[in-house]
């Protein structure tokens, strides 16, 4: 009887473990099946490097280069803002802060992670958009920069918590050795701890970026969604995710617009897959 129970439970756990992989494969196959159909009407080159996105015109123009660049510019901006702050915050929490402040900071960061993105988008629309317009003296505050700033808030909790873990997992002897050799606290952090934890910190950065690329609601509300080739971060942009979210409801099932949106899904999937694999590589290198 006990053996049977063991057996059943073991198999159940196995099925649960395999289920996640199974679902990923199913989702990817479905994306491929729906997305690749667009290449019957438009060549992959024209799709990826076409400069105009007019999906409902006759004939439709389906070039997603402005959308890819839009996503990249928002993501890069968010990374430039969130990485230094996030890593510095992790160093402070892991190395400098007294126990009490550490607790407050950690729960504060968890709280930041808990804010739904639509709320951040709404707050950004009301506060940040007029501010950006005013400070940079722009015709409109709905720009890539506005999206970057808001997304930086979203990436920070991921970056801080994973970078902090990486710093903690540096063996104590490294730190003690450095201090014993007469290094100051800052020298120890800067010359010993950060390099030792570097692969973990890089993984944190990559996962933070992964979060930013996939974000939809906030960017749709505050980046202006204009599908033009971005020349600067102070321009409105349209991201891959916002395009899918804004247009999926309208696309008639089975039309080329519908397939094109799935093809955008494939592009997004490939990008975030690459980001996650890179993060994973860094994480594993640390273990060896």
């Amino acid at each position: 009887m006990r053996k049977v129970k063991e057996f059943i439970i073991e198999k159940l756990i196995l099925i649960c473990g395999l289920a996640s992989i199974f679902f990923v494969i199913l989702i990817f196959l479905f994306l491929l099946k729906e997305g690749l159909a667009v290449f019957k009407t438009v060549s992959p080159f024209a799709f990826l490097f076409g400069k105009s996105w007019y999906p409902i015109s006759e004939p439709a123009r389906l070039g997603i280069l402005p959308l890819i660049l839009g996503s990249l510019i928002v993501t890069l901006g968010a990374a430039v803002i969130s990485v230094p702050i996030g890593v510095a915050c992790a160093v402070y929490i892991a190395e400098v802060a007294p126990a009490k402040i550490k607790e407050v900071l950690k729960s504060g960061i968890e709280l930041l992670a808990a804010i739904p993105s639509v709320v951040l988008g709404f707050i950004g629309m009301v506060t940040l958009v007029p501010w950006v317009k005013h400070v940079f003296n722009l015709p409109t505050g709905l720009t890539a920069l506005t999206g970057s700033i808001m997304l930086a808030f979203m990436a920070m909790p991921t970056i801080v918590s994973i970078a902090e873990d990486a710093l903690y997992s540096v063996p104590r002897v490294y730190k003690e050795g450095a201090l014993a050799l007469g290094a100051t606290h800052w020298q120890t952090i800067h010359r010993v701890l950060l390099p030792a934890a570097s692969s973990g910190i890089l993984a944190a950065v990559m996962l933070g970026i992964g979060r930013v690329i996939g974000e939809t609601m906030a960017v749709m509300m505050i980046t202006g969604n204009a599908a033009l080739m971005p020349h600067s971060i102070l321009q409105p942009v349209r991201t891959l995710t916002a395009t899918i979210a804004a247009e999926m409801g309208e696309a008639v099932v089975g039309s080329e617009h519908y397939f094109a949106l799935f093809a955008i899904g494939i592009v997004l999937f490939v990008i975030s897959f690459a980001v996650n694999v890179t993060a994973d590589l860094f994480l594993h290198r640390r273990k060896i």
Binding site: M125, P139, T140, M221, A227, L228, M229, E247, A251
Partner: protein, 284 residues
């Protein structure tokens, strides 16, 4: 624990089926964002009169309404444009026969910031502004500032109507498009907010959204004609050049509860609600 869960589940099933039984018919209405407020107002009054029925109204855009009518997930599609041939073909393939009923009229207002000195434009000027040929307010007698174009997303009937009737001037062979720099905002309210805050912005939406925080521009068909303000009277007399019919689409001729709801919308009381929500009645 498992037992308690089971009881809770049974209770849930029992309560939902009891709820479902108490409501006789449920009508799903979906589509045009322009018409959401109107549809909701109709639904509320209709349900007051017929408490045993339930009408659910959701937006998403005219295209969204058609795609759910075609996939059979709604009973009535609200639309601020005519159904496209492509959509009819697709519906026929799935055994759906779109049936059109005109339920109200709407004037599209072109709005700018109240401090903007520009207060009248011709259709031709509008087309040049929104296709990006005129880029500064200076060219129109305003301040020396870059024009910020605001448009709805492509899933909006308002977007399609504006493109076909203003940008392309009803010419089916025209290839005019919105300038790529136009900001596509997800809702009419978002356009209203941005226009209220941005002295260089210009946008368009259904007359129902006009408030003192924006200024509606008077429009003329061409330079020689009279400039007409977007008011209910001017839309009824069809003097105002950018006005359009609003439709309900059903699968085949409406029957039973759907017909009852439609009759209510077209009744005197229903058309009174049209007026109250800042649209224009089809029947006087």
């Amino acid at each position: 624990m498992a037992k308690r869960l089971l009881i809770a589940l049974l209770f849930l099933i029992a309560s939902t089926s009891a709820f479902a039984a108490s409501v006789k018919g449920s009508i799903q209405v979906k589509g045009s964002d322009t018409m959401v407020n109107l549809g909701q107002a109709w639904a509320e009054k209709y349900m007051e009169q017929n408490p045993q029925e339930f009408v659910a109204v959701t937006g998403g855009g005219s295209g969204t309404g058609f795609s759910s009518l075609i996939s059979g997930t709604c009973d009535i599609a609200m639309s601020s444009r005519n159904i496209k041939q492509k959509e009819i073909d697709l519906a026929k393939q799935k055994g759906i026969n779109p049936f059109e009923i005109k339920v109200a009229l709407d004037g599209l207002a072109v709005v700018v910031h109240p401090n903007n000195p520009v207060d009248k434009l011709t259709i031709d000027q509008l087309a040049q502004i929104f296709t990006g040929k005129i880029t500064s307010w200076k060219e129109l007698g305003g301040a020396d500032a870059k024009i910020v174009l605001l448009s709805r997303e492509v899933n909006s009937g308002t977007h399609v109507y504006f493109k076909e009737h203003v940008l392309r001037k009803n010419d089916p062979n025209s290839k005019e498009e919105f300038a790529p720099g136009a900001l596509l905002l997800p809702s009419s309210q978002a356009i209203a907010d941005e226009v209220a805050n941005n002295p260089a912005a210009i946008g368009y939406y259904g007359m129902g959204y006009i408030s003192p925080k924006q200024k509606a521009v008077s429009i003329a068909q061409d330079e020689k004609s009279e400039y007409i303000a977007p008011t209910v009277e001017n839309v009824i007399s069809s003097k105002y050049p950018i006005s359009r019919p609003l439709f309900f689409y059903t699968n085949g001729e409406p029957k039973d509860t759907v017909k009852a709801f439609l009759d209510f919308a077209l009744s005197q009381k229903g058309q009174q609600i049209v007026r109250e929500t800042d649209f224009v009645p089809v029947k006087q």
